[in-house]
């Protein structure tokens, strides 16, 4: 079976190479047959990769332990659900998974555009198949998943050896979330290739108008959505499974996923400038290049071992391949930009600092600063070693000090931006729309302060969060009221119609609200409490409003592990509330220990209890209890962001298309007029 798989892998490599070359030939010679052939080859990559991956998965399900990868990551008693996930649990399989998903994106892009944009698509195809070709080189030559276990005799003949059982999947991955997190994240990473391909193609082809932006936007939103889900799932897994009480540690692997997310966010906002006013073209090209480059850098950092991380990936030579590829990418991007920079000149200039353009510029600036700071902090050990000779790392204080003010400034922009008009806003109009939401925010901050919450950044976060929520509510209210008065619909129906007329704008507002929820959830960290106690049977401990009472602790057997667990009864303000069963699992086949955290989660706070095993001195269970306020808001906010993005991706209903640029009228101050929507100009 492995022969079939590795053959399909070689064939995929050849197909990608052919698609790449024939695409270039087709562009240069303008030969429609070459272009068509290239597109077909690009489409064919996906079925071939599906076969390849299918072979490997088949190996897992048939317990084929003569395949090295299967033997390393699976075992006979591994539940079927996790045998599937074992595909991406190791270096070779996860790289194969990357190639598979990239071929899927390529298929989707080439297929949906097979009869459209004939001047642009050949370039897009060449870029995507070129990137796929690189990853297939890795799959075939640097990290082949189809190695077999074998013994070579003196004469050179090979005998295949099969193990009786495999090592089993790392128990930290035997958690449903860990099955979804990598696919989401990888869809996000590989998805960054799509906007890159469109942008590069448009640049090289001098594709007219902003059509390519309009095309690219939805693909970028989709990739960004996957990346967001992947990051949030990873945070939730770290929190609920790893048992250290937190969800983000500024670890290099975490940072690797955050950086393309940041540039992607900047791009999604910055494109509006290009659509409306023909500005920021250079910014946008470089944001797209950076997003793609950072996704490659991210996977390089994760796999090469160049920065040490808790996610311990071995020092392997695969880093060299990535460095080579990134070098080629940089040269290519700089060359493409330099050759075509005339095409990227802005149509317009910044008219006023108090304008929507200005808020987008600040938005870009600050997001890029955040991405740069995270990159700098992550690569600090590498840089310091090159410069000083000693490896110096910086920790969470560095990242927090820089990124917290940036995040707060971003929330501020989120609230102010929609209140600003294009070109220039009159102070009167700004004040009218700005004053009451800001007043509401300050009021909320004042109430919190009066209640005794004194943490500065948390207070600012609350004030700005309320401010943004009120501006968003105000936007929905104002628009819905106009529709209601014209059409006679009730308020809720008007909100619905308002949203569907401009899904991008109002979906975007929903996403902003979700982000506010997430930030408020994160601000809860300022009030974290933790306690560690040896809690014998019958003893109790107090944390916040809760009293924990240890009823029992014992051992039990699971399907592939043995467990020590504690039975804790929780009282809140003296009344029995619930039972918690934190435990520690020991996996026989790999010798790995896993902590199962027990969490009681409410909107106000999470009670998070970890059982660290018995204290050897007195045999009492060691209990770590944490009080983590507002954590649930992060997950709820994540769901809101997901729904808002899906909404924003829906096609808008009747009314002028959101992409129509504003007429270049005189520079007179304007009311905050939303783009193109006729209805709202009646205000």
């Amino acid at each position: 079976m492995d022969i079939f798989g590795s053959f399909a892998l070689i064939l995929a490599l050849i197909t990608a190479g052919y698609a790449f070359i024939s695409g270039i030939v087709g562009i240069k010679t303008r030969n429609p047959l070459a272009i068509k052939s290239s597109r077909r080859a690009g489409l064919a990559m996906f079925p071939l990769m599906a076969l390849t991956a299918g072979t490997l998965i088949y190996g897992f399900f048939t317990n084929n332990f003569s395949m090295a990868y299967v033997a390393e990551h699976s075992s006979i008693h591994l539940p079927a659900f996790y045998k599937f996930a074992a595909l991406w649990s190791g270096q070779e399989g996860s790289l194969l998974f990357w190639s598979l998903l990239l071929s899927l994106w390529t298929f989707a892009v080439l297929f949906t555009n097979r009869r459209k944009h004939p001047e642009l698509m050949p370039y897009v195809g060449v870029v995507m198949t070129g990137v796929e070709f690189f990853f297939l080189l890795l799959n075939n030559f640097a990290a082949n998943p189809f190695s077999i276990l074998g013994v070579t005799s003196a004469s050179g003949a090979v005998t295949i050896v099969s193990q009786a059982n495999g090592h089993g999947l790392n128990p930290l991955l035997q958690y449903p979330e860990m099955v979804i997190h990598p696919p989401m994240l990888y869809m996000g990473y590989t998805g960054m290739t799509v906007p890159f391909a469109f942008a590069m193609g448009a640049l090289l082809a001098h594709y007219p108008g902003e059509k390519w932006i309009h095309l690219t936007r939805r693909w970028m939103m989709l990739a960004w959505l996957f990346l967001t889900c992947g990051i949030l799932l990873g945070m939730h897994w770290a929190y609920a499974v790893l048992g250290w009480g937190g969800y983000w540690a500024w670890d290099p692997v975490e940072n690797a996923s955050l950086m393309p997310w940041i540039t992607g966010t900047a791009f999604l906002h910055s494109v509006m400038m290009q659509e409306k006013r023909g500005m920021m073209r250079v910014w946008n090209i470089w944001l797209v290049f950076a997003g793609f480059f950072l996704s490659i850098l991210g996977t390089f950092l994760t796999r090469s071992g160049v920065v040490s991380s808790v996610h311990a990936f071995a020092q392997s030579s695969i880093g060299g391949w990535f460095v080579g590829f990134m070098a080629i990418l940089i040269v290519f991007c700089v060359w493409a930009y330099w050759r075509n920079r005339g095409y990227l000149k802005s149509d317009n200039q910044l008219d006023s600092v108090v304008s929507r353009e200005s808020s987008f510029l600040f938005n870009n600036l600050v997001l890029l600063a955040a991405a740069f700071a995270v990159l700098w902090g992550t690569l600090f050990p590498v840089i310091s070693e090159a410069v000083q000779g000693s490896k110096v790392s910086v920790g969470p204080p560095f990242f927090d000090r820089v990124n917290v003010p940036i995040a707060l400034f971003l929330i501020f922009l989120t609230g102010v931006g929609p209140l600003l008009a294009w070109r220039k806003t009159s102070v009167g109009s700004l004040w009218r729309n700005f004053a009451w939401p800001m007043g509401g925010g300050l009021l909320a901050g004042g109430v919190a302060f009066a209640y005794g919450f004194r943490e500065f950044y948390a207070l600012v976060c609350l004030i700005l969060g309320v401010f943004v929520t009120l501006t968003v509510a105000g936007e929905f209210y104002r628009g819905a009221r106009v529709i209601a008065s014209h059409s006679g619909l009730n308020f809720f129906q008007s909100v619905g119609r308002l949203t569907m007329r401009n899904t991008r704008r109002y979906g975007g507002y929903v996403v902003h609200f979700g982000i506010v929820l997430i930030f408020i959830g994160i601000a809860g960290q300022a009030f974290n409490v933790r306690r560690k106690v040896d809690l014998g049977i019958g003893s109790q401990m107090k944390i916040g409003p809760y009293t924990l009472y240890c009823q029992n602790f014992d051992q039990r057997n699971g399907p592939n592990y043995t467990a020590e667990d504690a039975t804790i009864e929780v009282f809140q303000h003296g009344r029995p509330t619930m039972m918690l069963f934190p435990e520690r699992r020991y996996f026989a086949s790999s010798g790995v220990i896993e902590t199962m955290v027990s969490i009681h989660s409410t909107l106000a706070r999470d009670l998070y209890v970890v059982y660290s095993g018995p204290d050897p001195q007195n045999n009492k269970p060691v209990i770590h209890a944490f009080l983590n306020p507002l954590v649930k808001w992060i997950w709820l906010g994540g769901v809101v962001v997901l729904l808002g993005t899906l909404l924003a991706m829906l096609p808008s209903g009747s009314g002028p298309a959101p992409g129509t640029p504003l007429p270049a009228t005189s520079g007179a101050a304007a009311e905050a007029v939303p783009e193109g929507d006729v209805l709202e100009r009646t205000r």
């Binding site: 892998l9 070689i10 070579t152 790392n170 040490s308 311990a312 392997s316 560095f398 940036i406 660290s612």
Partner: protein, 152 residues
């Protein structure tokens, strides 16, 4: 003043503030990385640094005393006694033989006082050390995977 100039001034203020914050944050958390065997060759001033030391947890050396965990890490033939005094639970991967990284300061007594302990994930991507596996050498008959010998 032109709008562009105002923007550049605003941008400059923001960037300078961020650089300053970054500087403060970096000096607060700057941690030097050393291996156990390097420690003996450090100068006196370097011994006072906040540092991260990596090594392997000596089997059988883990002891819990009075709410703190003591153990020894070794690397390159040298050993280092460590006391973990942090409040977070020790990672699940922490056990005898595991590769660990301790972060904290070296006390004058030679004991390392660790605020943080990281132990390497029973790695997804690590090289395997199973004796059973032997890599086929030379060329293979038939269309076997071309890189079989380089699997690890």
């Amino acid at each position: 003043m032109k709008a562009q100039t105002k923007f550049i001034i605003g941008a400059a203020i923001i960037l300078v503030t961020l650089v300053w914050l970054g500087w403060v944050g970096a000096s607060e958390s700057k941690t030097y990385y050393h291996t156990v065997s390097e420690l003996s060759s450090l100068r006196a001033s370097q011994l006072r640094q906040r540092m991260r030391v990596s090594g392997y947890v000596a089997k059988g050396s883990i002891r819990q005393i009075n709410g703190q965990t003591d153990f020894t890490i070794q690397e390159g033939g040298k050993t280092l006694p460590v006391s973990y005094v942090g409040s977070a639970p020790l990672p699940d991967t922490f056990k005898g033989g595991a590769q660990a990284m301790v972060q904290g300061r070296l006390a004058p007594s030679g004991q390392f006082v660790a605020q943080q302990v990281q132990a390497k994930c029973a790695s997804k991507y690590a090289a395997s050390t199973t004796p059973l596996k032997s890599t086929p050498t030379g060329s293979m008959a038939g269309p076997q995977s071309p890189a079989a010998a380089q699997s690890y």
